[in-house]
Symmetry: C2
Amino acid sequence: MTRPVLVQKFGGSSLGTPSRVKRAAQRIAASQDQGFSVVVVVSAMGDATDRLLSLASRVSKEPAARELDLLLSTGEGVSAPLMAMALHDLGVSAVSLLGFQAGIRTDRRHARARIVGVTPERIERELESGRVVVVAGFQGIGEEMEVTTLGRGGSDTSAVALAVGLKAQACEIFTDVRGIYTADPRLVASARMLPRIAYSEMLELASAGARVMHPRSIEIAEAYGLELHVRSSFHRGPGTVICSEEGIMEDRNRVRGIAHEEHVARLSVVGVPDRPGIAAAIFEPLAEADIAADVIVQTASHEGITDMSFTVSSADGKRAREILESVAHSIGARTVLAQNGLAKVSVVGSGIRGQPGVAARIFQTLASNGINIEMISTSEIRITCIITADRVKDAVQALHTAFQL
Amino acid sequence: MTRPVLVQKFGGSSLGTPSRVKRAAQRIAASQDQGFSVVVVVSAMGDATDRLLSLASRVSKEPAARELDLLLSTGEGVSAPLMAMALHDLGVSAVSLLGFQAGIRTDRRHARARIVGVTPERIERELESGRVVVVAGFQGIGEEMEVTTLGRGGSDTSAVALAVGLKAQACEIFTDVRGIYTADPRLVASARMLPRIAYSEMLELASAGARVMHPRSIEIAEAYGLELHVRSSFHRGPGTVICSEEGIMEDRNRVRGIAHEEHVARLSVVGVPDRPGIAAAIFEPLAEADIAADVIVQTASHEGITDMSFTVSSADGKRAREILESVAHSIGARTVLAQNGLAKVSVVGSGIRGQPGVAARIFQTLASNGINIEMISTSEIRITCIITADRVKDAVQALHTAFQL
C-alpha cells in the first residue's frame, strides 16, 4: 500500500442518529480526500446497547454471557453497514466488516474478551482496491467462531489494535468532548484542554474516572508507540494527542489533571486474623463474581488482627457485601461493614514522581475546605483520595485552583 | 444421535415481544421433554426488519444490497440469542448460532441468496451435548465469509434446509394463523382449515398470494420428501401438514382452496413488431431491476404486430413503467399502458388437472356476480383471474361457495 493508513474511531454519541452518521461520513470522506487509506471503527448507535440489555432483561433474569455477546454485537452490526451506506451516498467506495470478517481474533472470555491478534488480509485487500473499510468495533471472534465482545470501551481497543495491526500512521478517536481536560469542564469552568498528554498520565486519568478512553486501549497504544488523537466529532479543533512522555516538550514534570468518579462504595472486613492467604481469600471470590476492587487499604496488624478496606463501584456494592459476609465467616473475621455515597478524587501527572510536596498540598487543600479524607491510595504519578460524594465538586474545583491548572 | 431431530421455526409475529419469545420457549421446552433433539429457527422480532430498512433509507437513497444484508441480518442476530436466554430461564440448556456459525452456506447473490449446502457439524455437536440449538433464520454465509440473506420468507427456507441437512423427523412452521385454509378466513367466514395439502397445491397457493409460507421452502421440502407442519404459535391445534399427494387419503382430485392477492398492477406494451427476441427485450430489463412479472399474456399477432401484457405488484408499477417506456422506444412499440388497482384470484387444487369443467365454473361464477375478468392465466393445478381490486372479496366468497369448500 502506498497511501498511509488512518484509523478513525467514532463512539456511540457520534452516531446517535442517522444525521450524525451522515456527518461522520463527511469527515471520513474528507480524510480520504487528503490521501489516506481510511479504516473506520464504529461503536453501536447512541443507546442501542442499553436497549439490547433491556430486551435481554425482559426474557431472562440472568442472561448468559455468551448469548449476551451475540446479542450486543448486533449494535455494531447495525452501525457499521449504515456507515458504509452513508459513505456510498457521498460517492465514496466503502465496505463494512463485522469482527469475524475483519479478522479481530480474541480469546473466548465472553463479555471481556482480549484481542489475541488481528488477521488484516481482508482489510488490506479492500484498502488496496480504494475502499474505506468500516469495522464493527467492540466485537471479535474467538475459537470455534464464537462471537465475543471486548467489554466497556471495547471499540477503543478495536481501533488501537487495528491501527497497530495495519501499521497506521495515525489513530483518531472521535468522541463527544473536545479533548482531554485538566478537570471535568462541567465541574470546573476554568478547566483547560491539554494539547498533549503522556500515555501513563492518560491511563491514570482514565482509571481514576475520566471516561473519554478505555485504559486497555491506552496500554496497547503505549506498548506499540502508537499516538492517539482524541477529538470532537461535532467541532473542528486540535483535540488532545496521547503520546510518550518524550513527545511532550512543554509542561513537563507537572500535575496534569484532576479526575473524579462518583458512585463509589467502601467495604471493610473487620477483625481479620492476620495470616498469609487472607487477602487472596477475600479478593478471589470477588474476582470470580467479576467485581473489581479498586482502592485497597490494609491497616497495620495489631495483636495478630487486621482490618481490610477497599472500594467498589456502587452498582457492585450489594453483591460484594453478600460475598464478603460468607467469606468473613469462613476466615473468622469479626464483621463486614459497608458504606455507600462515596467518591474518588485523583490528582494525576508525571510531576508527582519525586515531588513529595504534591501530596502535602492535596491534603492541605482538602482540609482547608473542610473535606474529610476517608481513604488514600497512590501510584507513582497519581494520588487518590476517597471522600463523601456530596463534596466532589468542591474538591475538584479546589484542587484545580491549588495546582494552577 | 439417538434422539430424533425436530426443527421448529418461529416467524416474526410469533416473536413480536419478549413475552411472546418466552411463550415460544415454553413450547420448545415441551418438545424437548417429549424426547426430541430440537433445532429452532427464528425470524427477526415483529417489525424489526422494517425498522432496519427505515434506518437504511435515512442514511442512503439507494442502500447497497451487500450492506443491507449485513444490516438486516442483525434482526435475527437479536432474536436468536434472546430465544436462547429465554430457554435458559426455563432451565433448558440452549445455544444460539448465527448463519455463519450454523454452517448455512449460500451463493453470493445478496438479498436473494440461495442455500448451496448446510455444514451441520457444529449443530450436531451441540445437539449431542443435549442443547437446544437456536439458529438465526433468513441468513447465510457466502464465499469470502460474506453475510447473505435469503430474501422474503427466507427463514422458512432456513428451517427446511436445516431439517433436510439434519435428517429431521419433522419440521414445524409456527405462524400467526392456525393452518392452511380453503380461503382467507378474513374474507370468507366459512373457510375451512385443511388437515393436509400437497406440496404442489401449497406451492400454487403460496405463489398465488397465500402468504403463510414461501414457495421456495416448499419446493425444497418436496424435493427431499420432508413433511412440513404449519401450526399456530398462539393456539394448540392440529394445523396443516404439507406432504406428497400420495399422503392425502381423503379429498383427492378436488379443488383445494382459493387464494388471492391485492395490489396488482397491469402493464401493456402495445403495438409491438412481432419478431423473435421481443419478449426477452421486454423482460430482461425488468429482471435486472429485480421486478417479477407475474401473469403474462401475449395477444395473437395481427399483421406482424402484437400486444404484450403482464402483471407486477403495485409497489413495482412505477419503476416497471419507466423501464418499459425506454424499452418500447428501442423495440419500436407504439406505447405503454399501465393500470393499477387490480387483484389476482386463484383457484388451486390437483382436481383441476384433467377436469375442464373447473375453468368453466370459475368463469360462470364470476360472470353471474358481475365481475369482469381482465386477464386469465393457468397452470396444471391452478386457474388465476385478474379482476379489479374492489371485487376481490365478492369473488373469493362466490368461488368458495361454488366449489363447496
